[in-house]
């Protein structure tokens, strides 16, 4: 029986040992440790991909916007490609050279400079001017209602667009073979391709798809305007923009909002979600200087017609217009106030009936109010969002 006591004592000790709580130590990894070590030699990537899916606020969802799914691994690969200067003929230019995050992915030059100091023809389009390239952009998913790319709408999909940039002699000037070779030469792409595609085979189609995925992952919908629209949506679903002063807006911003809705929204969109039309002439010149869409379609009706840009982050993306002719928002507003030129293709919205250009004749107060409103479209988070930042060490 003594032994039984001994056994009981042993059991007692056992219970005590089992009862004390130890913390488990589980290590969750996304990349194989060897892959991550290799990546970390060159890149500052998080140890697992970021979420690149745009989760739109309600006031935009209420418009019935659909967003294409974005693959996080491909977008992560695309982010590296977007910032990689090796993807250009002379190794000095990446997409980010002309699309700078701190400027909402615009360039502050009138026209951008590409490889070997070659100067381009047009002003860079701010990728942050758009709500999200995953909403409404590209004819591949959205058919004829999908918005095309570039000032002259010449690219139908995000992939066509980036292939055009990579091969453009005034931008990155790469041949198709150059692209594959440049990517193959960099050791960090092997694991990134494997993660995104399950195989490390590098093709130009994959390079292009991955960049498109990253571009589709860029979204800007956290401006002051969005915050206020979200609040206002609650009490009037249909006319919340016109009817209500936004409580968080200053008096000037609210007045500017009304001027905008009256004079600009019919083209640029009241909600900054998608432009009301694919192309327009806004009266920059009386004669055709740059044919714009007409240069692609050769149709007389399209001459000097350009993409109608969205105006998100417009405060940061000077200079303005396809040729970067205006340096400030005040100059832009002055253009619409008194400077619209009559061109045979001038949009009806900007005509004073017949063959006459409209003069909006804004007062000084109107102009500053309008500019104040345009500045509410700035999304500070976009400028420092680490998901979109340069990953190179």
């Amino acid at each position: 029986m003594k032994k039984l006591h001994l056994a009981c004592l042993f059991l007692g000790v056992l219970i005590l040992a089992a009862a004390c709580k130890r913390d488990s130590d589980f290590n969750y990894y996304y990349y194989e440790p060897a892959d991550y070590a290799l990546l970390s030699q060159y890149l500052n990537l998080p140890d697992r991909p970021e979420n690149y899916q745009s989760e739109l606020p309600n006031h935009l969802m209420a418009l019935g916007l659909s967003v294409r799914p974005v693959d996080y691994d491909k977008a992560t690969l695309g982010r590296v490609l977007f910032y990689d200067k090796k993807l250009s003929k002379d190794g000095t230019i990446s997409c980010a050279s002309c699309h700078k995050q701190e400027l909402a992915f615009a360039d502050n030059a009138k026209v951008s400079t590409g490889v070997f100091g070659r100067v381009g023809d047009r002003n860079s389009i701010a990728l942050g001017s758009v709500l999200s390239f995953s909403a409404y952009y590209g004819t591949d998913l959205f058919g004829p209602s999908g918005i095309p790319f570039f000032w002259d709408n010449r690219a139908n999909t995000a992939s066509d667009q980036n292939m055009a940039s990579m091969t453009n002699p005034k931008e990155m000037d790469m041949s198709h073979a150059d692209i594959v070779n440049a990517v193959q030469a960099q050791p960090y792409y092997e694991p990134l391709f494997r993660m995104a595609y399950g195989s490390n085979q590098i093709t130009e189609a994959r390079v292009s798809e991955a960049i498109a995925e990253f571009v589709n992952g860029i979204g800007s919908f956290k401006s002051k305007f969005d915050v206020e629209a979200e609040k206002a949506l609650g009490y009037n679903a249909y006319s919340y923009l016109e009817k209500n002063n936004f409580s968080g807006f200053s008096a000037a911003e609210n007045r500017g909002k009304l001027i905008y809705l009256e004079n600009c929204a019919s083209c640029h969109s009241a909600t900054q979600s998608r432009p009301e039309m694919m192309k327009a002439n806004n009266g920059l010149d009386a004669t055709t200087v740059d044919a714009g869409v007409g240069g692609i379609t050769n149709a007389t009706d399209d001459m000097a017609m350009f993409k109608v840009p969205l105006l998100r982050n417009i405060e940061l993306t000077a200079p303005y217009m396809h040729d970067g002719r205006f340096n400030t928002l005040e100059e832009v507003v002055e253009h619409y106030s008194t400077g619209i030129q009559y061109h045979p293709n001038l949009s009806t919205e900007l005509r004073a009936g017949g063959a006459q250009a409209k003069k909006m004749n804004f007062s000084t107060q109107d102009k500053s109010d309008l500019v104040a409103f345009l500045k509410t479209l700035t999304d500070q988070e976009l400028l420092t969002d680490k998901r979109y930042a340069n990953p190179f060490k």
């Binding site: 219970i15 089992a18 969750y28 990894y29």
Partner: protein, 262 residues
């Protein structure tokens, strides 16, 4: 005796569940010791569509009323699970294995009018490892095989009751176990859903589980053939979400070494 049988049959009929990803109980060894010097070694097997496992268990009494026990358990299993890759949900196939080696010390008593009852109380400790492999999903070309694995330790206390009736032996027992997950390496590409489940496991560790076991044996000196069932009686509510196997059924063949010598 008959009453015990009625209780036991449903327990045996429970199929071994296929979701053995995070924990599976080994066969509870129910001591049939009655005197000093007795020793039994048994090997077990379990096999069905999703599982295949083997076990070795030994018990020995160096002194009267005192017993020593060792158990080793090795199980391979496969199945399907729903998880999400990036943001897409899919069903994926997995294969896994788990093993556990443990030792225990305890006491036993023989009572009853014909000394047919064998009461015992054992306590033990062991260490184990589980490795799961999630196979590539053909619909998602980007997927590969992803692994998750962890080491665990287990304490247990088991009061048990054995009964001998001619050539038949029936045993039943309760086992209180604490499964403590020590460290693990989890490839989070198995998807958020799955890593959430694993995190739940980690959070709830040590898991306090109560297990119940039955064994029916046919004693053909010196051989004992047994059918065993060990089931987890789920304690906490959220243990349900933890993907523990509910039940384990095995067939074992034992050799009573002390009967050999005679």
């Amino acid at each position: 005796m008959r009453l015990l049988l009625y209780f036991a049959i449903p327990a045996l009929l429970l199929p071994a569940c296929s979701s053995n990803r995070f924990y599976t109980p080994n066969t509870m060894q129910i001591p049939m010791l009655s005197e000093k010097g007795q020793a039994t070694v048994q090997v077990g097997m379990a096999k069905n569509k999703h599982n295949s496992g083997w076990e070795v268990q030994g018990i020995y009494s160096p002194l009267s009323h005192l017993g020593l026990m060792v158990n080793h358990f090795d199980l391979h299993y496969s199945g399907n699970t729903y998880t999400d890759f990036s943001q897409f949900f899919y069903e994926t196939e997995y294969k896994g294995k788990t093993r556990l080696t443990e030792g225990a010390v305890g006491g036993y008593l023989q009572t009853g009018p014909q000394k047919e009852y064998l009461i015992s109380l054992f306590g033990g400790y062991g260490k184990g490892r589980t490795e799961n492999r999630y196979l590539p999903q053909p619909d998602f070309p980007g997927t590969e095989t992803y692994n998750s694995s962890w080491n665990y330790q287990r304490w247990f206390i088991q009061p048990a009751l054995g009964m001998k009736y001619r050539r038949f032996q029936v045993g039943t027992g309760l086992r209180f176990v604490w499964v403590d997950y020590l460290n693990g390496d989890i490839n989070s590409r198995v998807g958020q859903t799955e890593t959430d489940r694993i995190a739940l496991l980690e959070e709830n560790s040590p898991l306090a589980l109560t297990e119940i076991a039955w064994s029916f044996s046919w004693h053909l000196r010196p051989v004992v053939i047994s059918l065993n069932s060990t089931a987890v009686v789920r304690g906490k509510n959220n243990i349900r979400e933890l993907n523990l196997a509910s039940n384990f059924v095995s067939l074992t063949v034992g050799l009573n070494l002390h009967e050999l010598r005679k």
